[in-house]
């Protein structure tokens, strides 16, 4: 499946934003506007920040993929990869190491694993591509997207 096909994935495979996700997106945008994408990611990541991104946790059933202005994305992975963007380059090895660690911990603890390998999930690959290309939260949650998908929850 190509990136174009991922972007055009039928909407029943990608859930619309929930009120909690809209609220989290709004906080991400505010933080990004104030401090930049990398700092916003550090402050918001699950496990490294205050967990603002928790409503986008792809381990929770039903919210593996999230609809954004850039198509289906895993926002929690996007946030984790944007932690490394103080300097360009380390996003891809960081993703591979992170993914392999994640898989080994899940297997060791007996937790369910849906995709074992780096780049196995096309949406995840697309997410890596976006983070590596320097896209920010404002690219995922554009004002038009927020207005359309979050209504009163938008900016």
């Amino acid at each position: 499946m190509s990136v174009v096909e991922v972007l055009n994935r039928p909407s029943n495979n990608v859930n619309k934003l929930t009120p909690a996700q809209c609220q989290a997106a709004r906080i991400l945008l505010q933080r990004e506007e104030k401090s930049g994408t990398t700092v916003a990611a550090w402050n918001s990541a699950i496990g490294f920040g205050d967990g603002t991104v928790e409503p986008f946790n792809n381990s929770v059933p039903g919210q593996a993929y999230v609809n954004t202005a850039k198509g289906a994305v895993k926002v929690d992975w996007f946030t984790d990869l944007r932690l490394t963007t103080l300097v360009p380059g380390p996003q891809i090895p960081a993703y591979i190491v992170g993914k392999l660690t994640w898989t080994s911990v899940r297997v060791a603890t007996g937790a369910p694993v849906t995709n074992y390998l780096p780049f196995q999930d096309l949406v995840e690959s697309w997410t890596v591509e976006l983070a590596t290309s320097g896209y920010g939260f404002r690219s995922l949650f554009t004002p038009e997207f927020m207005k359309e998908n979050c209504g009163q929850w938008g900016r």
Binding site: G47, V105, Q120
Partner: protein, 123 residues
């Protein structure tokens, strides 16, 4: 040949010390997240940091055991890939090529550095 290998060993040793610092900072960030925001437990980062610092110091001191420790990430990675493939996981090109490149790097660099094996010592 020895000089090239030796400089490569020094670079690798310093790189591992650098990575140990980075991973330790990630662990501390996770610790903060766990204490203040009930974040998930990423204590595996601590063990990864210990591994990096041990390997880095070993390389800087030209220890044979450090050269063997260098193969650990490659062995772990290949094990996970075999496990994933056995479970039916498949990765499409061109991303599969990135994965292959990563594995080749993880195995190739330690193999290349074995040229310095005879100039190193166990203790």
């Amino acid at each position: 040949m020895g000089k090239i290998s030796y400089s490569l060993v020094l670079i690798a040793g310093r790189f591992f010390i650098f990575m140990a610092t980075v991973i330790m900072l990630l662990f501390l960030a996770n610790l903060r997240s766990r204490f203040y925001y009930h974040g998930p437990n990423y204590s595996s980062l601590l063990w990864m940091s210990f591994y990096c610092v041990l390997t880095g110091i070993g390389l800087l001191k030209s220890k044979k055991w450090a050269f063997l420790l260098l193969f650990l990430p490659g062995i772990c990675t290949i094990t996970i890939f075999i496990y994933g493939w056995a479970a039916g996981a498949r990765v499409l090109k061109p991303w599969a090529l990135v994965n292959y490149g990563f594995i080749i790097t993880l195995v190739g660099i330690p193999t290349f550095m074995l040229r310095y094996w005879h100039e190193s010592r166990w203790l």
